[in-house]
């Protein structure tokens, strides 16, 4: 066993860097997260179960994970289009648009939330035209989706963009000379190349959305059972000095997020394995 571990590498310093990586990872990630679990143990199993399965909590998981998932899907489609346009076409102002993509990253989320609310509320620029159509965005679950789509966009664009850039035009040209139609070229040549990056981007957008608080809180309306996200419920518990209850919800989010991240990684691994086997 030890022989396998000590397989010689071309690069020296494996032991040292691995040790440092583990130490760093523990310090930054594992210790705070284990604190979360330890705090939850102050609850009995019944109390924990009661806290995490009450109707408000269930409704908030549905909204948080549902809206995050939908937001990631929307970004998966339109973020790819944005990346495609930025890589494949040259037009005036391209570099400005390219820089603007990062804005949702850099903007304080509260600012984003206030701006979106101002625009989509019934007297806002866009909201006032949607309202007569019977479409209410601000202070509804739809508003949550809008906010999460906004903050998730850069993740997809920034992961897909470099892969598109590295894609050899010659491969596409070869496909065309071999008689492939445009759709076939797209489906059989471009998509398989993009697929792992796209999944990664969507997974990151999803993960970011699940934890989002600042921007959503302003646009959601925060009505129990309707437009209340799980992070708000956690804040609500903290405001009531219910630290254990708050961490219980935190643990649920952590476990679900971890399982989802693991699943996405597996799909990705399976996708690349299948792709390279061909």
């Amino acid at each position: 066993m030890s022989l396998v571990l000590k397989q010689p590498s071309v690069l020296p310093g494996f032991g040292l860097t691995l040790g440092f990586a583990l130490f760093y990872f523990s310090l930054i990630v594992l210790i705070p997260l284990s604190g979360l679990f330890i705090k939850t143990t102050t609850l009995t199993w019944e109390q924990f179960w009661h806290t995490v399965t009450e109707p408000r909590a269930i409704a908030s998981y549905q909204l948080t994970f549902g809206a995050s998932f939908l937001g990631a899907l929307i970004n998966g489609v339109f973020g790819s289009v944005v990346a495609w346009v930025l890589v494949r076409y040259h037009f005036p102002g391209r570099s400005i648009v390219d820089a603007l993509v990062d804005l949702p990253f850099a903007l304080p989320t509260a600012v984003a939330g206030i701006a979106l609310t101002a625009i989509y509320s019934s007297n806002g620029w866009i909201g006032r035209y949607l309202e007569p159509l019977g479409l209410k965005v601000a202070f509804t679950p739809l508003g949550v989706l809008v906010a999460l789509t906004f903050i998730g966009l850069p993740f997809v664009v920034r992961t897909v963009q470099p892969v598109l850039q590295d894609l050899d035009l010659e491969v596409e040209e070869a496909a065309v000379t071999l008689g492939a139609s445009r759709w076939q070229t797209f489906r059989a040549v471009i998509v398989p190349e993009l697929w792992p990056a796209l999944l990664t981007g969507m997974a990151m957008a999803f993960a970011r959305s699940v934890g989002e608080y600042g921007s959503v809180i302003f646009i959601a309306g925060n009505m129990p059972l309707k437009s209340e996200i799980t992070p708000l419920l956690i804040m609500t518990k903290l405001e009531q000095y219910d630290y254990a209850g708050a961490t219980a919800l935190g643990v649920v989010m952590l476990v679900v997020s971890f399982i989802l991240a693991l699943m996405i990684n597996l799909i990705q691994w399976w996708g690349t394995a299948r792709h390279s086997a061909r």
């Binding site: 925060n222 009505m223 804040m235």
Partner: protein
């Protein structure tokens, strides 16, 4: 959320100041007053007045740092280690929490200063659109179908708890003490609430900037303040004939002042709130003074309202919180089961 960096900075700042008392203690001292949102302007003026008075009396230079935020958020910061010499919060329940969770002050803190440690009081009133198009005059107008009411979430906001208890107390008085009727009343009121902001300032923004709702329920002092500036032409104040006596409370944080050696100045700071000058400043910033002379001076500002106290209707904050705002309390029931 936004306030956290500020609170941290203040914590660091006070921490840093705490480390260098040997140089400064003689001629200069600093204290931190952790307060809630709408007291910003009040304490700005009061701090300057107190510093002047303290300097004249003792020759010592006092610097007062302020921190503002949602009341229970602020209490949580103190519990988690923010070194506040003084807390001036929206409800006694939050200071109770500091005593109970962190043991920084004795349980009987509220009996240490006059008027149950409430140097000024306020009440809960309404703000409506100019001309009062929905004809809102009293609490029972808020439950009418088609009236949209803005109040923050009582789970996260101090004033929202006062709003909720005021409505409950009103209904209880109307029905001669029928709890079921009071519950039904509050139920119908919250069916008219389209947005539950997490704090008082958020609710004001929703009402004023977003143009949502026919009526905003809020602190009297906030409502008086919002109609002083540009709001004068857009809103009208409606004072219900009956409301709750809201008493924001103050205390010295014993463990912190003993550790930092600031008990004397912190104590004097709170006592100055009860003085002629302190009461005068409170009145000027739309808080109802306790002192007769200051109250008389600002009598025109404050309309006569029949005020009931938290004590006579709910006993104390601990009970009120348990019945209404704890998980599964009457507020949760509004959303979990529809009224019969």
């Amino acid at each position: 959320m936004i306030l956290k960096p500020l609170v941290l900075t203040l914590a660091l700042l006070t921490g840093a100041l705490g480390f260098t008392p040997s140089i400064q203690a003689a001629e200069s001292v600093s204290i931190l007053n952790v307060s809630y949102d709408p007291t910003r302007e009040l304490y700005q003026e009061f701090n300057a007045a107190f510093a002047k008075q303290w300097q004249a009396k003792t020759g010592q230079n006092v610097k007062i740092l302020q921190s503002h935020g949602g009341s229970s958020k602020q209490a949580r910061a103190v519990i988690d280690g923010l070194e506040a010499d003084i807390v001036t919060l929206a409800l006694a329940y939050d200071i109770d929490a500091i005593s109970e969770k962190a043991g920084l002050l004795p349980a009987n803190w509220q009996s240490r200063l006059p008027h149950d440690s409430a140097p000024y009081s306020s009440t809960i009133t309404f703000l409506v659109r100019k001309g009062n198009p929905k004809g809102i005059k009293d609490w029972n107008d808020l439950v009418k179908p088609g009236v949209s009411v803005i109040t923050p979430n009582p789970k996260t906001s101090g004033v929202a708890r006062w709003n909720y208890l005021a409505a409950w107390g009103y209904a209880l008085k109307q029905s001669g003490g029928d709890e079921a009727k009071a519950q039904d009343f509050v139920w119908r009121l919250f069916k008219n609430v389209p947005v539950l902001d997490s704090g008082a300032r958020g609710a004001t923004t929703t009402f004023v900037e977003r143009g949502i709702g026919d009526v905003l329920i809020n602190w009297e002092n906030e409502i008086l303040l919002s109609t002083k500036g540009s709001g004068k032409d857009k809103f009208d104040i409606v004072v219900p004939p009956i409301s709750i006596l809201a008493e924001p409370t103050v205390s010295v944080v014993d463990k912190i002042v003993d550790k930092r050696g600031t008990r004397q100045v912190a104590q004097a700071y709170l006592e100055y709130l009860y003085s002629e000058e302190g009461q005068e400043i409170a009145g000027k910033h739309y808080y109802r003074p306790q002192l007769k002379s200051a109250a008389a001076k600002y009598a025109a500002t404050f309309p006569t309202v029949e005020l009931f106290t938290l004590k006579e209707i709910f006993g104390n904050w601990q009970k009120a919180h348990k019945t209404h705002f704890a998980d599964g309390g009457t507020f949760d029931q509004i959303y979990l089961q529809s009224p019969k």
